[in-house]
């Protein structure tokens, strides 16, 4: 049985013709063309032509019934979501996490009351979706009511998803009548209960209804008779499947380093610590996605260097280069995002940028552990997730696939402690595996239908990097 999987990215449209035989997926053909922004179907058709499944001059419409086609689209880098919550550490954080887990790009976050200036920002630069939350069920209603009123009085055209205090839902709905609006379950019904799933589902549906309009995607949906998936959501779901079916992977991280952002996924069996450690903050989900908007190999190359710690200079010197040359390269590729490394030096700069993105994103994704001295002795307080036991980091993305494997990635120095003196709970001695043929997004598309085969396909395509890429480091305090 043949399958086609296509991922319409922001720069490239990639496709593969896959064959499913004896429960195993094999890649029969691959193709990649620049994404055609005006009409996405043009690039899609070009990929199908290159895969040899469409004859020259045949209409897209004739493709449908013979081979199932699975499509994902990153839709201009993901749909933008403004997350509105009440308290920054509580519902605002829950809203941010929910938007990210729905494959969104969080454009802004707001806490407490939306001010006139906040509304103006939203009017001038409207996100695709506003995720309005606040209050646990039966809890605070004042802020969400008032925020709804302010949004109702504004000219903000965005879809508003209400996922706050259940008690205020009817009022909020009445208030926002006439605006594009959906009510769903509270993302934080109780302080110790995160409930992102219903809001995620709504965001996904909105993605399909609103974001795919124009650019020819409706035509694609008509032909394929099923909806394309937002790429980050497809990958998140795939991470879930990999965690379930890919027994060798156990707990793992998956990092997608792109031109503009670094997407970080982690899958943990037990995201919360045992009783010996005090956990603080909203509960961690088993699968988590974070997006670093300032870490990327092209559009955000300069901000990678701004974010890098002093260890980068040592790495640059160790690689036999000067920091100034790397900075000049970063400026150059930021201005010309289509640039590909043209010589050995440039390839080395790309590797340095790549490893910096991965190490900083790892540090940001990981939780923190601090020691507190109590009358009963030392205690540990944890916030966020503990990745110390994670052995594998899967690196994916177009650049990772093109990396010359003869060079190992420069050591990724993760610092053991952050600015506040807390230990960073990053993987201690992980091994990085590279998605050599960049199959993750393509396998993710078919994973819902063929979970085990898609898992196997990606597994068999992972190549271990030559060296352990993160300096093993000791945490200043022994783990609890």
């Amino acid at each position: 049985m043949q399958l086609i999987s296509v991922d319409i990215g922001s720069t490239y449209t990639k496709g593969a013709l896959l064959v499913l035989r004896d429960g195993q997926l094999h890649v029969q053909a691959r193709a990649s063309v620049p994404t055609t922004q005006d009409d996405l179907t043009t690039g899609f058709v070009q990929v199908l032509l290159a895969l040899g499944v469409l004859e020259e001059k045949t209409q897209l419409e004739t493709l449908a019934p013979t081979i199932p086609v699975y499509v994902s689209s990153s839709a201009k880098g993901g749909l933008s979501v403004a997350a509105v919550g009440l308290v920054p550490n509580v519902t605002m954080e829950a809203a941010r996490l929910t938007a990210l887990s729905a494959g969104g790009r969080v454009s802004r976050v707001f806490s407490y009351l939306l001010t006139a200036a906040d509304i103006e920002l939203l009017e001038q630069n409207p996100p695709d979706i506003i995720l309005l939350s606040g209050g646990t069920d039966g809890g605070n209603e004042r802020y969400v009511r008032q925020n709804a009123r302010r949004l109702a009085a504004s000219t903000v055209p965005s879809c508003i998803v209400y996922a706050g205090n259940r008690q205020a839902a009817e009022d909020v709905e009445r208030c926002l009548r006439g605006k594009p609006f959906t009510v769903t379950e509270n993302i934080l019904p109780a302080l110790d209960c995160l409930n992102p799933e219903p809001a995620r589902q709504v965001i996904r549906e909105l993605f399909l209804q609103r974001i795919v309009q124009g650019k020819g995607l409706e035509r694609l949906i008509r032909v394929l008779r099923h909806d394309p998936l937002p790429t980050p959501l497809a990958i998140l779901e795939f991470v879930k499947i990999l965690h379930k079916h890919g027994t060798d992977l156990e707990d793992f991280c998956l990092v997608d380093v792109g031109g503009a952002t670094t997407d970080y996924y982690s899958a943990l069996c037990h995201p919360l610590p045992g009783p010996e450690t005090v956990y603080r903050g909203i509960p961690e989900p088993r699968i988590k996605r974070t997006v670093e908007g300032d870490l990327g190999l092209r559009v955000s190359a300069c901000s990678v260097l701004d974010a890098a710690g002093p260890s980068l200079e040592a790495d640059v010197a160790h690689a036999g280069h000067r920091m100034e040359s790397l900075q000049a390269y970063a400026r150059h590729v930021e201005a010309a995002p289509g640039h590909l490394a043209a010589c050995a030096d440039e390839a080395c700069y790309d590797r340095l940028l790549f490893s910096t993105c991965v190490s900083i994103a790892t540090q940001r994704h990981a939780g923190r552990l601090r020691s507190v001295y109590t009358a009963d002795g030392e205690r540990h307080v944890q916030t966020g997730r503990d990745l110390r036991h994670v052995r594998r980091i899967v690196l994916t993305g177009g650049y990772a696939a093109h990396m010359n494997l003869d060079h190992c990635i420069p050591a990724m120095a993760t610092v053991p402690v952050d600015d506040t003196g807390s230990s960073i709970l990053a993987p201690r001695s992980p091994v990085c595996w590279i998605d050599r043929d960049h199959l993750v997004p393509l396998a993710a598309n078919v994973a819902a239908a063929h979970p085990e085969a898609a898992t196997r396909l990606v597994h068999d395509n992972l190549v271990r990097t030559r060296a352990a890429t993160v300096h093993p480091h000791e945490h200043p305090r022994t783990s609890p």
Binding site: V90, T91, G138, G139, L191, Y373, T374, D376, R379, V381
Partner: protein
């Protein structure tokens, strides 16, 4: 609102968990909606939880004798963050050494706590006082 919402927790670097569990069980059985933050809770965590859950009262426990340091400024911080008239109770072994309870209670009342309880407080009394205080603060409607 039938069930009053109360936030419970042990403040500061105090990890005495047993009393906290007992308070949780007792007040839950008395039809309160208990939001229990457990041990080692910071002032801001109490306030965050009270804002989100719309709590009427925060019940702070302290067992290890550093209560005075940990609780200082909690009322001001509540006001600063918009909880103008939340009920604040504190109880436990609040100070080290032998100090007369009346003095300790006076000290904590000056700090802005509505009521102060010693380690041997009768929870039925706390319950009765709490209901009174909540009723008194409710806006007439």
């Amino acid at each position: 609102m039938n069930h009053p919402v109360i936030v419970l927790g042990v403040i500061g670097a105090d990890c005495h968990a047993v009393g906290n569990r007992i308070l949780d069980m007792y007040f839950s059985s008395r039809s309160y909606h208990v939001v229990n933050l457990g041990v080692m809770v910071s002032q801001d965590e109490f306030i965050d939880a009270a804002i989100e859950t719309g709590a009427q009262a925060i019940l702070v426990s302290s067992l290890y004798g550093h209560g005075e340091i940990d609780c200082a400024g909690l009322r001001d911080r509540c006001i600063e963050r918009g909880l103008d008239d939340i009920i604040l109770y504190v109880g436990g072994n609040l100070v080290i050494g032998k100090q007369r309870f009346e003095e300790v209670a006076a000290k904590f009342r000056t700090m802005g706590f509505d009521r102060v309880f010693g380690p041997d407080a009768d929870l039925a009394v706390v319950d009765r006082l709490l209901r009174q205080d909540i009723k008194r603060r409710q806006p007439c409607s």
